[in-house]
Point group: C3
Chain length 211, copies 3
Amino acid sequence: MSGLESAALLVRALDLVGTFVFAISGAALGTQRGMDLFGVLVLGCVTAVVGGITRDVLIGAIPPASVASWHNLALALAAGLLTFRFSRLFDRLQQPVQFFDAAGLGVFAVAGTQKAVAFGINWPMAAVLGMISGIGGGMVRDMLAAQVPTVLRADIYAVAALAGALVVVAGSALGLPPTAVALAGVALCVFLRLMALYHGWRLPAAPSREP
Amino acid sequence: MSGLESAALLVRALDLVGTFVFAISGAALGTQRGMDLFGVLVLGCVTAVVGGITRDVLIGAIPPASVASWHNLALALAAGLLTFRFSRLFDRLQQPVQFFDAAGLGVFAVAGTQKAVAFGINWPMAAVLGMISGIGGGMVRDMLAAQVPTVLRADIYAVAALAGALVVVAGSALGLPPTAVALAGVALCVFLRLMALYHGWRLPAAPSREP
Amino acid sequence: MSGLESAALLVRALDLVGTFVFAISGAALGTQRGMDLFGVLVLGCVTAVVGGITRDVLIGAIPPASVASWHNLALALAAGLLTFRFSRLFDRLQQPVQFFDAAGLGVFAVAGTQKAVAFGINWPMAAVLGMISGIGGGMVRDMLAAQVPTVLRADIYAVAALAGALVVVAGSALGLPPTAVALAGVALCVFLRLMALYHGWRLPAAPSREP
């Protein structure tokens, strides 16, 4: 197997991992809220596929990839079922889940940016659409749970996705090899995310002025 | 009038009934929250048309049926106006409203699945899109009212829609006559919904672990 | 410069003003909620562009104008940065901001209706899509902040947008000159909005029946 082929395999594997881990994060929020099995599965699937679906609708890739094929949904359903059944186990596995979530975020952001560029979107919006691919699912998950999306309040999460996306648009503009660029983008996203998690890197916040 | 024609008429009539009853359920939530007339009408229209619009955007039927024609919106507006004016009356009519809501849910799910199949969507996603046609409006209604969508917490509702949708994809795969399949799908959805309402059929729920 | 050219320039200028002011209103809500810089910028951009993006997806103008070009996003980001940096200043500027918000609302509603008519949408839905262009961003802004959209509860806001939109469809049906019609639509929207702000014009509200 050549280096390129193994790199493409890696990206595909990380995409599946990302779908799986995003679905876990959605389903876990559902079990915490005491939702029934259906609610837990919906929250898992929404978290895993809504970011990509939003990107696909906005760039004109209709029907979106997650509608044209049922594989992503099936994987997200499996993740949701496992989370519902073994919710205590996933509570203890928080650290590996956070790591895979960072990897999934990077892969979604990078692959989303590549797709938007391939559809001829200008580079600033391609980066934004890549970021949306990564964070959109989690935002709708939180809206369905009637809470302010954590991505709007919390540490470096969306910014890590945006950084990975910008690596892709920069590499595309410079004509660098796509696979190396993609891996660099994912790596930067994961690095920033881990720095935020374990070294407390943050963005400045406006002081809350609500009563 | 032949049997087929009267069955088609029945489906069309139930579609109008579904639009009307879904609009009532949205408008009723608006009046309960003390919204003004406009808010009540918006909540009614959103509940009636957003599920179908979402399906149409995802399968590429753009502009969506509820945008290409103004009839659904007009019917939803009429239902919203009646609900606003006679809100006390609708409080007392809860039982018939629940029955028509179940019929509307079944019709929306069945018709949505048929449309997705006709647009060449694979059968698992066609069933999901049919379910979304049925429950999407109510989910956005609840998000606009800043509450967790009841469909994620409550008894068998989305599952009834999904069951009706699965009847359609199964019948379509087996080449059965569409009208009979559609009626069977609606009947199954209504049956499950009424069992949930009057016999307490439920899905297992994760125990709430929030403080 | 002819009268027509200066009128077109005026509409274009008001469109930029509307984007800028809508972004301020979103960013201001983010700072009030103690969001970090990213959350503030997202809320600003969402408020400025989501209404138009929704309209464009529904009429089939894909990719939407705010995706096909990055100018609106850049302007909204600038407004969000200013709001984040000088949030106290914007607190004191509430009155001019409200005026420009009314102007932005009118321009978005009028321009949105014109675009929907140009895409062959029937006139009642074209007016609704124009109204959505004006109020959609603020509705999603409020949903992201986990609060009931103010447009559903508050004084005459959406109705002002709808009135401006109806002027456009009426003028289009009567074959009146588009620029004059557009200016009349914006003027009516601003007038109604200012009447609501300074003379307390309201719609009837249903009495709240929640505990």
